[in-house]
Structures are given as C-alpha cells and as structure tokens.
C-alpha cells in the first residue's frame, strides 16, 4: 500500500427521481489497498459504485483518478482507464466458454475491418488459461461453459479477466453473496492476491466478517452518507458492527 490516492471523490451528490441517494460523499482510496465498503441495503453503496464505474454520472461533485479529474460517459471509458467493476450477478454469460467470456468486447482479432475481425481463438484460449493460473484458479479447459463452474470459480474467472486487462482498480459488488463458506474463502484469497499484484480493490458487502480479514481500510455508509472511514488498525470488528447496525 502506498500513500498515493488512486481515486478521490469530492462532494458527490446523486438524486434518483427526488430521492437523495448520495449526499456530499467524499472518499480517498489509496493505491494498492483493499477497501471494504460496507453498509446495509439502501445505504448508497450501489449508487457510489455505479458512479465510479461510469454507469451513472453524479449530479454534482468531482472524481479524480490518479490525480486527474475524470467524467465518465460510459463503463467503457472507465474500463479503458483501468477501473473494472464486477457486478453481483451479471458479470459472465453462462452459456459461453471461459475464454470467450474473458475476452467479451476485447477480443484479439486478425484480418479486421474496422472493429470487426476474426478472433484469434488459439491465442485467446492460451491467454485465458494463463490468466486463470495467475489467480491460482486451475480449471480443465478454456472451452468449459461458465454455467458448469461453481460460484467461487466464476468470481475467479471475472477477477482473472480484470487482471489480464491490467486493471488498476477493481470494484467488487457483493462478490461473496450466495457462496458457501469454502467458495467465499476462495474469493477472499483471489482479492488478497490482487493487492500483491498492485491492484486496488473496493470490496462492497453487507457482511463485515467477509471483508474485515482482508481489508486495509473500511468505509461505512448509511442513508447515502459516509458515516465512518477508518484504517483497520484504528478500529475493531465490534465498533464497525455497532456502526453498521446503529448507523
């Protein structure tokens, strides 16, 4: 973890048809850290990540990425800068193979006319297997359809994809939801591995016990506001639980 901020948000506000979903939110995220973003349902976590991932734009406020102000018009723009978001449900196409999923929208092509070209399937298959091995996920074949993988393995594929495309920031939206304990541990190991490889992760969850062991920094939200922003050494699990429950 370095002292440089990779993302800085200043006074972000967002309204959804009259509802003030995000209230003057300011947040600094240090490079190469794991930030746990916790809060109950409706706390504004999803609104914040939608803004950071480029899916929505804030009604007011500023976002700085690596020191420069950014205004994303689409998720593609955020992805091009190296901010990749892993949504809870919709990150992979179940019927498609692992290799094809890893390269959706960023296929390696040859003989291309404009943006359309023939896919280099062999090299994509090999790159997919290498990317999976990099996150310690050992699967049989890049041709396996994703719907034959377990929940934890699917998250592993998504993380491998983000790693392969050299993401600088990975936003994980409830990555451990609906996973068994064993599968959850797998995902937590993937996220710990990211830090070593110089990737900053923002881990969104309402389950404190999942993120606490691996987080460097914890940020608690309630009713669209940030109510606490603490380094792990300055807090403990009881204080955080209290904040989470009583807001």
């Amino acid at each position: 973890m370095s002292n440089e901020n990779i993302i800085e948000c200043k006074d972000l506000n967002k309204y959804y048809s009259g509802v003030h979903a995000l209230k003057n939110l300011s947040l600094k995220i240090k490079k190469d850290s794991v930030v746990g973003l916790i809060g109950d349902n409706g706390a504004g976590k999803s609104t914040l990540i939608k803004i950071l991932s480029g899916a929505h734009s804030p009604d007011s406020g500023h976002i700085y990425f690596e020191g420069n102000e950014v205004k994303f018009k689409s998720t593609k723009e955020a992805m091009n800068l190296g901010i990749e978001t892993i949504y809870q449900y919709s990150a992979l196409i179940p019927q498609m193979s692992i290799a094809r999923n890893i390269f959706i929208g960023r296929e390696q092509t040859t003989f291309s006319l404009g943006s359309i070209g023939l896919m280099k399937t062999k090299s994509m298959d090999k790159a997919a297997m290498d990317a999976l091995n990099d996150v310690e996920l050992h699967l049989r074949s890049p041709d396996t359809p994703v719907n034959q993988l377990s929940g934890g393995e699917r998250q592993g594929v998504v993380i491998a994809r983000a790693m392969y495309f050299k993401s600088k920031v990975l936003i994980l939206d409830e990555p451990t939801n609906h996973l068994s304990v064993k599968e959850t541990n797998k995902v937590l190991r993937f996220v710990e591995g990211l830090k070593k490889q110089g990737v900053t992760s923002i881990f969104i969850t309402h389950n404190l016990s999942h993120v606490y062991p691996i987080a460097d920094h914890l940020c608690v939200m309630a009713r669209g506001e940030k109510i606490a922003d603490l380094a792990k050494e300055d807090t403990n699990i009881d204080e955080l639980t209290d904040l989470l429950v009583n807001g």
């Binding site: 919709s90 992979l92 196409i93 179940p94 019927q95 999923n101 929208g105 896919m119 304990v181």
Partner: protein, 343 residues
Amino acid sequence: MNTNNLKSILMRPEISTFIMFVVIMTGFFIANENFLSARNIRIVMGITPEYIIVAIGIAILMISGEFDLSVGSVFALVPMTMVQLVHQGMPPWVAIALGLSIGIAVGFVNGFITLRFGIPSFIATLGMLYIARSLTTVATGGFPPPFPHELPNELFVFQFEVFRASLFWMLGVAFIAGIMLHRSNLGNWIYSTGGDTAAASSMGIKTNNVKMFCFILCGFLAGFAGMIQTFRIEAPLPSQGYLLELESIAAAVIGGVSLFGGVGTIFGAAIGAILIRFLESGIIMARIDAEWFRAGLGSLIIISVVFNTWVVRRGENMVHKNQAEENENSSQKNNSVTESKDE
C-alpha cells in the same frame, strides 16, 4: 479426457439433431428406397436452399435474443417489389438492389420499434407480418403480375445435374454467416447479447447495435431467399412464404437454437431446415396422406426440443457429478474441510 471431449460433443444440440436427421432419413429410405434417389434429392434440394437461408437469418436473430415473425411476408414483398419495378421499366439489377433494400428497411424498422420503444420483438414483428403482407398484395394491384424475363433468374436458380445454383448461394451465405457467428468478434457479441444483455452491456458491448444488425441481416436474408423462390417458380405470388415465419423458427429450434437467446449454430439451423423439407418429401414418398406433414412437423418440433433438453441436462449432470467427486477427493485430502458444495 477423451471421453469428456466425446461427451461435450454429444451434448451439443445440433449434433443430436444431426443424429435424428440420420435416423429419419434411414426410416424413410427403408419405407421407400427411391427416397434417396438422385431424382428425389434433386427435387428436395432444389427448393431447400431458400428455406435454409431464411432459417440462418432467424437463427442469428434468435441467438441475439430477438424474434422476427415478419420473414414470411418479407419473403413475398421483396421479390414482388423487384418484379413490379422491372415492369415500371427499371433496369433489372437496380430493381434487385432496391428490392433487397426493402428487406433491409423492414429489418431496420423491426429493430427500431423493438429497441426504441422497448417492446417485445414478437409484437413488433407480428405487426410487420400483417403490414408487409398487405403491402405485397397492394403492390400486385389486384392481380399477380407476370414474371419479367429481363430478371437474371438463371444466375440464382440454374439447374445443374443434381443441384440448383441456389444451393451454392446458400452455401456462400452459410459460410459467411458461420465465419461471422462462430469465428469473428461480432459473433462473440451476438452470443453475449443474447446470453445476458445486462452482462454484455456492462462489458461495453453496444447490445442495441448488435441486435439492430441481426434484425437487418434477418430481413435481408428473408428477402434474398424470397427472390430466389420467385426466380425459381417464375411467378411472383402474393401468398408466397405464407406461414414461413413459423417454419423458420421451427427449423432453428429443431437445430438447437434456444428460444431464450445465446445458444445455437448455423449448422444446426441448416440441418433443421433440411430435415423439415425431407420430412415433407418422405411422408409423400411413403404414400402417407400429405395432410400428415403438419402433424409430423409438429411432433418433430416437440420431440427434438425435448430430446435436446434431455441430452444437455444429462451432460450437465455428468459434469456436476465429476465436480462433486473431485471436491470430495480434495476434501478427503485436506481432511479438514467440512463444507460441501451447494449443488
């Protein structure tokens, strides 16, 4: 490993359709050995390419997660436009180009209405089914026009020894569509759009553009195939392609294309279309009353989808079983993990 590969090949729905195809062909051959005579193959394959081309367009659109019920009407409207334009004194090739662009325009309108207003393509194209059929009838002016022999129909339907020229046009279409769908990145976008639109767009795919492309391609191919049929029978009939929309969807579904998008192949859709035409011929050759064709087709649709679903389920169960076994082995090794997998 090898048995796994074999399983995964057998799990592919278009392969089970192919197996069914072989079984049905054998059955009809036993009933009447003339069924596979050069003469009968010549007759059936003389008309089949038109249906395959429509089925390919429908299959690609269905893989992207949408429907087109207007293909049967476009199948009539496009050649009718060409014929009438030539009667107006337009050069044949200009008339062909304008006619095909009607197919493209109908596809565009189908896509625009579906995507812009967020309504099911089933409804948008159902409306277009009636509109395009009505336009076709209006364009005849009340009486089907004669076929103008300025049109270069021999180029598309010339009868060779066994096959017609249309077969080679169809092979060209299938080859290009196959490369596009299975080998190009555009194909990857089509599968991902149909598989899970939200996921695809979160990965930066412009899913509406992808669907629009498929609508347009489907309209174009339906018009192109209709042109071939009119060129073959040398009579532009306003009733041409009646109920073809359902038959094309049937061909795609028999060939393993999913109604829910994201699954299917060009090969499967082509086999589905061929199977329907040989079923029709086989029933006649077996001296069964031709009225039984629709009952046969209906049964074929149901049987093939049930069979495909069963094969895929079986394959998935095998994989899950393997995974569960592997998990068990690894947990015995670790000797500490008490969790078992959810599934």
